[in-house]
Amino acid sequence: MTSITQHDAPRGASDGPPDRVALLRTMMLIRRFEEKCAEMYAKGRIKGFLHLYIGQEAVATGAIAALRPDDYIVSHYREHGHALARGLEPRRIMAELYGRATGVSGGRGGSMHLFDREKSFMGGYAIVAGHMPLACGLALAEQYKGSDRVAVNFFGDGAVNEGEFHEALNLAAVWKLPVVFIVENNLYGMGTAIRRVSAVEEIYKRAQAYGIHAEQVDGMNVVAVRDAVARLSKRARAGDGPVFLEALCYRFRGHSMADAEFYRSKDEVERWRTLDPIKQLQHALTADGVIDAARIAALQAEVDEIARDAAQFAEESPAPPIESLHRFVYKEAADA
């Protein structure tokens, strides 16, 4: 009888939570990388929808730092930050946004559909909440195989009112699936404030209604997020069933590049900008004497170069050949 074989990334445990400087560097990389994306979108080098993560860097950075490299990540369409935090190559992410053959999805996916199976990055998805069942299935498979990998599912506050949110949380709870649900509550789903469309605004309480262990965390504080996810993922890994984390955060930019932001005030945005997760950590590290202005400048220079190089790589990369249009519609027995 054919028995089960592992397919994915090496299993080795992660080498412990990275230090705060590493967290800062990742957040700065995400920030700079996306500023470059915005620049290239304005220049017409990137097309389609572009959803920037700027402002929310602490969530992806802290959460993924607390995971094992082989834990699955399933995200939505605002996933550049999750991809960078998981270690996908900036060059290949940028190339994907450019629609180049060298992109992580060969130029077929685009900004909303980044994939890197080698890194257990199982994709960005563009149907709100439509990816939540997939995270349940990945977790189910690991439970079935007897492994201790977990599936981490990132989604937004707007996804909470979809039927699939309900079905996924119930199934994960009933079957004790090792899923780490992380909702990035940035207060808006496109232009709709959560209070206008959700019966209960504290999302983590909704998860508790399924008997799921759920917590809320300051999503502008990367260390707090990292520690919460470390604690919660441990439970899921131990077989205690799914866990749920609500990260309170804010997106500094519009929903997409098209958003005129009629629905929120400049003041509100400014107030949140004072909580910028990158500035917060820079101040803390400086205050603690861990880093100084020079080190910050060095880090900045480093990420500037990565973003610049990524864009150059994308510019110089070839487009997928037209003849490849019909490739990968079906997997044939031949294709290993």
Binding site: R108, H113, G130, A159, M190, A260, F262
Partner: protein, 323 residues
């Protein structure tokens, strides 16, 4: 007649309905505070208030289902689903409830709801945001399926949709919102089931709708320069379908090509070809051909996406090979 955009034409019809019929109200994701994902309802919340213009949670199924329920109670809801891709989350409500209630209830309960959504591809939105599933809705008895191609169609057909007593699936094309055309300021209605002869011709009939009408029309212009005369039909509605107009044109030209963004296999073009060969068999000098989208999920890359969509050049090649 003032020249306005497809978006403005839709806005005129919606505003007219809101102004003249209290039974009409609008529901949908981000149609209010955000102004509508394609800005069709921009300013309506301010003008008509929350009772008439309702921002909803991201819950396609209950939003459409609540629209159906409100229609059962005698109101005339217009539900906006942003894009046809998301309508898959509400399709059980549309197919199992809206399309069947009048029949199952033996004529006691009808469902006068208008469900608007944007379909089509071409702006590199990727596989999950670039589908053209109108053929699915056109397959279902009990539904009406409207596919406006011009600003004039958009206003006149949307006005008619609100007069209809049945569920109307109103499919706009993402690439057409900024297209312009002459549109009367006063209200007018275009009948369902009546196609428009968009361009007269004698050699080949090109059948298009929504976005694909324009590729067909552009191809016809090119071909005219070569002395090939194409008749271009604008279907306007897929259900009911103006079979008479299609057959009348083919009886004249003896050749037909259907142009559609959607996947060819199992798509609506097949229905049209089947109808033509059944009813105009002896009039055909050549098989009915289809110029359709490629049989692939839509790729993001711009060149691949264009290669996956029917192009003017493809139509021209087909016509040349036919005459």
């Amino acid at each position: 007649m003032p020249e306005i955009t497809y978006r403005q034409a839709l806005r005129q019809a919606l505003r007219y309905q809101l102004q003249h019929d209290e039974r009409v109200f609008l529901m949908g994701e981000d149609i209010g505070a955000y102004g509508g994902s394609y800005a069709v309802t921009k300013g309506f919340l301010e003008e008509f208030g929350e009772r008439r213009v309702k921002d909803t949670p991201i819950s396609e199924s209950v939003v459409v289902g609540a629209g159906i329920g409100a229609a059962m109670a005698g109101l005339k809801p217009m539900v906006e689903l942003m894009t046809i891709n998301f309508s898959l989350l509400a399709i059980d409500q549309i197919v199992n409830n809206a399309s069947k209630l009048y029949y199952m209830s033996n004529g006691q309960i009808n469902v006068p709801i208008v469900i608007r959504m944007a379909g089509g591809a071409g702006s590199q939105l990727g596989a999950q945001h670039s589908q053209s599933l109108e053929s699915w809705y056109a397959h279902v008895p009990g539904l009406k399926v409207v596919v406006p191609a011009t600003p004039y169609d958009a206003k006149g057909l949307l006005m008619t949709a609100f007069d209809d007593q049945n569920p109307v699936i109103f499919i706009e094309h993402t690439a057409l919102y900024t297209s312009k055309g002459d549109v009367p300021e006063e209200p007018y209605r275009l009948p369902f089931g009546k196609a428009e002869i968009f361009r007269e011709g004698t050699d080949v009939t090109l059948i298009g709708y929504s976005g694909s009408l324009h590729q067909a029309a552009r191809a016809a212009e090119q071909l005219a320069l070569e002395g090939i005369s194409c008749e271009v039909l604008n279907l306007r509605t897929l259900r009911p379908l103006d079979t008479e107009a299609i057959l009348a044109s083919v009886r004249k030209t003896n050749r037909a090509i259907v142009v559609e963004d959607d996947w060819e296999f199992g798509g609506f073009g097949g229905e049209i070809a089947a109808i033509i060969q059944e009813w105009a068999f002896d009039d055909l000098d050549a098989p009915v051909l289809r110029c359709s989208g490629a049989d692939v999920p839509m790729p993001y890359n711009g060149a691949l996406e264009q290669a996956a969509l029917p192009q003017e050049a493809d139509i021209i090649r087909m016509v040349r090979g036919m005459v």
